[in-house]
Symmetry: C2
Subunit: 217 residues, 2 copies
C-alpha cells in the first residue's frame, strides 16, 4: 500500500493547481494571449494589456514561477516568451471551453461582431485554398514584429495603424479577410469596419495564429 496516500495526493493536486492559478486572473490571460503572438518586452506587454509595468512584472513573475514563460535579456530590455507551444495550446483550450460553456461570453462576443461575416467560407481548408489561388487576401493587422514572429500562410501584413494610409495596396475586387491576435482582440474588427467604409469587400477571422496552430498535429 502506498503510504500517506492523502498527503501525496494533496501535493500532486496542489502542483496542478499552480498551473490553474495562472489561468485564473484576467490580466494574466491577456498576457498569455499576447505572448502567443511572439516574444515581447515587459513594456510592450504592459502597454498592450493597459496595465502598469509594475503590475505586468508581478503577473509575469507568477507565469515564470509556474515555468510557463522564460526570459532573456536583450540590451536594456527583458524579453518574455512562452516556454513551449503547449502553453499556447492550453490558452486556446481554456478560452474555447469558456466560449462553449459561458452564455455570458457568447453574447458578449456576438455583441462585438455585429457585421455579417458570410462572404468568406468559415472552414479553414477552403479558405486556405482560396488564399493560395489568390481569390481572397488574408490580412494580418497586428504589429509587424508579431507578423514576423509567426503568421498564417499567405497572409500579408499591414498593421492596423498604417491601414488607412496603405489602402492602395489592397484590391477592391476580392474579399479581404482580416485577422489579429484572436477572438478577444478587436483590431481585425476595426480593420474590417474601415475597409468596408472605403468600399472594400471585407470580413474578419475570429481566430489568431494560436488558434490555428492548436489543431495542427
Amino acid at each position: 500500500m502506498v503510504k500517506d496516500a492523502r498527503k501525496i495526493k494533496n501535493l500532486l493536486y496542489e502542483q496542478v493547481a499552480r498551473i490553474g492559478k495562472v489561468f485564473s486572473s484576467p490580466k494574466r490571460l491577456e498576457l498569455i494571449e499576447l505572448l502567443c503572438q511572439g516574444e515581447m518586452t515587459v513594456e510592450t506587454l504592459a502597454r498592450e494589456a493597459s496595465i502598469s509595468m509594475k503590475l505586468a512584472s508581478a503577473h509575469l513573475r507568477e507565469l515564470r514561477g509556474a515555468h510557463l514563460v522564460e526570459t532573456e535579456r536583450r540590451g536594456k530590455n527583458i524579453l518574455y516568451r512562452l516556454v513551449d507551444k503547449e502553453v499556447a495550446d492550453l490558452w486556446v483550450h481554456v478560452h474555447t471551453l469558456a466560449e462553449n460553456r459561458l452564455i455570458e461570453l457568447q453574447t458578449e462576443l456576438q455583441k462585438i461582431a455585429t457585421q455579417p461575416n458570410d462572404l468568406v467560407p468559415s472552414d479553414r481548408e477552403t479558405l486556405m485554398k482560396m488564399a493560395r489561388r489568390g481569390e481572397v487576401v488574408v490580412l494580418d493587422v497586428r504589429p509587424t514584429e508579431e507578423y514576423l514572429a509567426t503568421h498564417l500562410p499567405f497572409a500579408r501584413s499591414i498593421p492596423i495603424d498604417e491601414l488607412r494610409q496603405r489602402l492602395a495596396e489592397l484590391p477592391k475586387d476580392r474579399p479581404i479577410v482580416a485577422y489579429c491576435r484572436g477572438p478577444y482582440c478587436l483590431m481585425a474588427i476595426d480593420a474590417v469596419e474601415l475597409l468596408r467604409k472605403e468600399g472594400f469587400k471585407s470580413a474578419h477571422l475570429r481566430d489568431g495564429v494560436a488558434e490555428w496552430k492548436v489543431t495542427e498535429v
Copy 2:
C-alpha cells in the same frame, strides 16, 4: 472603431478567468477528476476527496456556477456530472501541461511509481492489440459504478477492495495491467503491489479513461 475596447476586453478575459478559477484549487481539481469517472453523489465525492460534505458542496457550487457540471436529483441524493466531455479534456490538458512544466510534479510522480513498469508496451495501440488477443489482462480496479459508467476496451472489473478475495479469477501466466482514475489515483499502484506479492506478473497504467478519451477524435 469599437467603442470602449478596453472595457469589453476586460469583460471577455474576466469571463474566461471564471473557468480558470475553477481549475485553480486543488480540491476542485480532485472533484473534476472524480467526475471524469462518471456521475456521483456529493457524499461519494466528499468521501473520495477526503473532505467534508459542506466543503464539497461549496466547491461543486463553484463548478456549477461556471456551467461545468450539472445536477440531477435521484431520490434522496443529488448526482453531479460533467456537462460535457470537453471539461474532462481540459482537465487532462491542464494536468498534462503541469506534468511537463513542473519539475516538482515530475519527481513527485516518479517517487510513487518506483516499480519497474517495462513488462508491458507503453504505447496504446499495441497494448490494445495484445488485450484483444488476450495476451494481457487489462484490469479496472475502480469501484464498480465507475467501471459501469465507462471503462477501457477489453477491461475487466475488480474493485481494489475485492481484489485480495478474487485473485483466483486472474491468470498467472499473462501480465495483468491495472489502471484506475488517472495519474494521481494510487489504487492501481496498490493493486500491482498486491498482485506481485501474490506471484502475478503485473504493471500499472498511468492513464485513466479521461486520458484515453482525450486523444480520440
